[in-house]
């Protein structure tokens, strides 16, 4: 069992209540930060910790904080991104549902570090039941003097509110999120200006993921240097992994970064191996937008080194033979899964979720869905594979926000690693569309 920075007390009965949470050391970081540290000292600790954004991009959180503009007389905001919508990702929902005070404690300590006096948690609208759990916990925190005016007699004031979205993946992109929080359609903004200069209500704003913010209390309590000792290399600390797909034990696991992928898949401590005694076919290791890797490349890098659960190891080989840790959504495919069908499914997702603002994404995601649909349903053309590669290439890098890239990468990667499977669908539509048919390497077989 590795160190649990976030989930040590997650299964304590009643941990969602303030009293129980405090009994287990909760809100110590608020006391420590507000009474004994300056905001700058808190920022320094987070920088030293090497904590990287847990929403997917992996940008160093302390550096993001230090970019925050601080003009006189202008309010600053901290906004928590709880819009968890990347397919495969469910760690934040699980975490907030079980231990809402962990996030609230992180919000208070982080808001203090940034000098924000009003902060928001933007949560996806489907999670209204989590919003109610958070609001209940926030009310408890106000009653205990942990929120509101003059918190714990420190002279620091903070109001914390939860705001629901309305069902739009794009609002996980930070500027779309801010638009949505202002009551508008979730169209991402052109950058610059970045939110650190002009964010919510045109004021300097930091947007951080739930897990990032919830890691701050441990860093404040134990120092950034101690946090940096956990993990491996520049992948410091622990990470919540959402494990799903064809495994024996789907669920959320807190791992110390650096655990070998093979151990994560097969150990009973984590995924417990592939379900029904089947073989592993492929893994999408960081949420639906990151490249899929076949069995041989997810277990070992192209150079033959053991692949680890870390930012660096999972991206080893770039997009030629690597992928990304992303949001830590680890989606496992057994031997009976069809890569073409899965790719079509994700392209439908991105088409559905494109905000429609940029033509390459609005049109391109629709094209990719249409072409993949016809391949999957036995009407593919021989030139379709190259067409998909070309469309993906023309979306990538040509849009205001990364949704275009997120839509293009999975298609490009699926073709890169499973081209034969696409070709088989096009050349043998009858076999490929038979119920339960799956391509199994050079010898195409059909199983019922």
């Amino acid at each position: 069992m590795g160190l649990k920075i976030l989930t040590e007390h997650i299964n304590v009965p009643g941990i969602e209540k303030l009293e129980v949470y405090r009994k287990h050391g909760g809100y110590r970081s608020v006391e420590k930060a507000l009474k004994t540290m300056t905001p700058e000292e808190v920022v320094e600790e987070v920088k030293t910790a090497g904590l990287r954004g847990r929403g997917g991009a992996g940008f160093p959180a302390g550096m993001k904080w230090s970019f925050l503009a601080k003009p006189e007389g202008v309010p600053r905001y901290l906004v928590c991104n709880a819009d968890e919508s990347e397919p495969g990702t469910f760690k934040d929902r699980y975490f907030m549902e079980k231990t809402p005070h962990s996030l609230i404690e992180g919000m208070i300590t982080s808001s203090y570090a940034l000098g924000a006096n009003t902060s928001f948690i933007y949560i996806r609208g489907e999670l209204m039941f989590i919003l109610r759990i958070l609001e209940k916990a926030i009310a408890e925190a106000y009653a205990a003097g942990l929120l509101g005016k003059n918190i714990l007699g420190s002279g620091y004031d903070l109001d914390l509110h939860v705001a629901p979205g309305g069902g739009a993946y794009i609002c996980g992109e930070e500027t779309a999120l801010l638009e949505s929080l202002e009551g508008k359609r979730g169209n991402p903004r052109n950058k610059p200006p970045f939110p650190a200069v002009k964010g919510l209500f045109a004021s300097p704003t930091v947007v951080n993921n739930v897990e990032t913010i919830s890691s701050v209390p441990w860093i404040v309590n134990n120092t950034g240097a101690e946090y940096a000792n956990v993990g491996i290399g520049r992948s410091t600390g622990t990470k919540l992994i959402s494990a799903s797909g064809n495994i024996n034990n789907p669920g959320v696991y807190e791992i110390e970064l650096g655990v070998p992928v093979e151990e994560f898949i097969y150990s009973d401590e984590y995924c417990g191996g592939i379900w029904k005694g089947k073989e592993l076919k492929a893994v999408v290791p960081g949420g639906s937008s990151v490249p899929i890797l076949p069995k041989d490349l997810i277990l070992k890098t192209a150079a033959g080194e053991q692949r680890l659960m870390s930012y660096e190891s999972l991206s080893d080989g770039g997009f030629v033979s690597g992928s990304m840790l992303g949001s830590g959504a680890f989606i496992v495919f057994d031997e009976d899964q069809c890569i073409v069908r899965n790719t079509w499914n994700y392209s439908r997702f991105y088409h559905h979720e494109s905000c429609g603002q940029c033509s390459p994404c609005r049109e391109g995601t629709g094209w990719m869905e249409k072409v993949l649909h016809r391949i999957e349903y036995g009407h593919g053309h021989p030139q379709d594979i190259d067409l998909l590669v070309s469309v993906a290439k023309q979306i990538e890098g040509n849009t205001i926000c990364p949704l275009g890239d997120a839509a293009a990468w999975p298609v490009a990667a699926a073709i890169r690693h499973f081209r034969e499977e696409f070709e088989w669908h096009i050349k043998h539509p009858k076999e490929a569309t038979a119920p339960g048919a799956v391509y199994r390497g050079q010898l195409a077989t059909v199983t019922a």
Binding site: M128, A168, Y169, G183, N246, I331, N345, F349
Partner: protein, 184 residues
Amino acid sequence: MAETINEVKFSDAAMAEIQRYISHYPEGRQKSAILPILHIAQAEFGGWVSPEAMDRVAEILNIQPIEVYEVATFYTMFNLKPVGKHVLEVCRTGPCCLRGADQVIDMLKQKLNIEEGGTTADGMFTLKPVECLASCGTGPMLQVREKYYENLDTEERVDQFLEMMRNSEVETPFHQRPEAKELN
């Protein structure tokens, strides 16, 4: 038009909730509360937001109706047409499909005799496939209002779920909604 607007009346509890959300935002930024208010409207008025309800939301926020329409049409959670008593929002995205979501959607279509987006003749169910609901470890799954129903991995579980829903009343956080007679 004015007459129909008058018919859209939020309960006192819902109005209090609306005012609470508006109070979270700085002076002059009351429009920010539009999404929570649309959720409240949908829960209050039979699971969908009518043009009249949107106009009422605009009136409350003191903004143009178009500002509400453009938001309500962007976010997929808002139903812009009448729906059944229970809207089954079934996840249709990759991770759930690896564990049988396609089969669950097919089963529901067959058992309820409706297409995707359709409502049963008795007004009991609307089938609305949706994208990932952040419950990938417990798929296949679906959502009905604020509740998740997970691990629907066998036909028996799906049957149990439907039976339970047939016998369950609609609860909203604000008030007990009367039977949706107009939809039957």
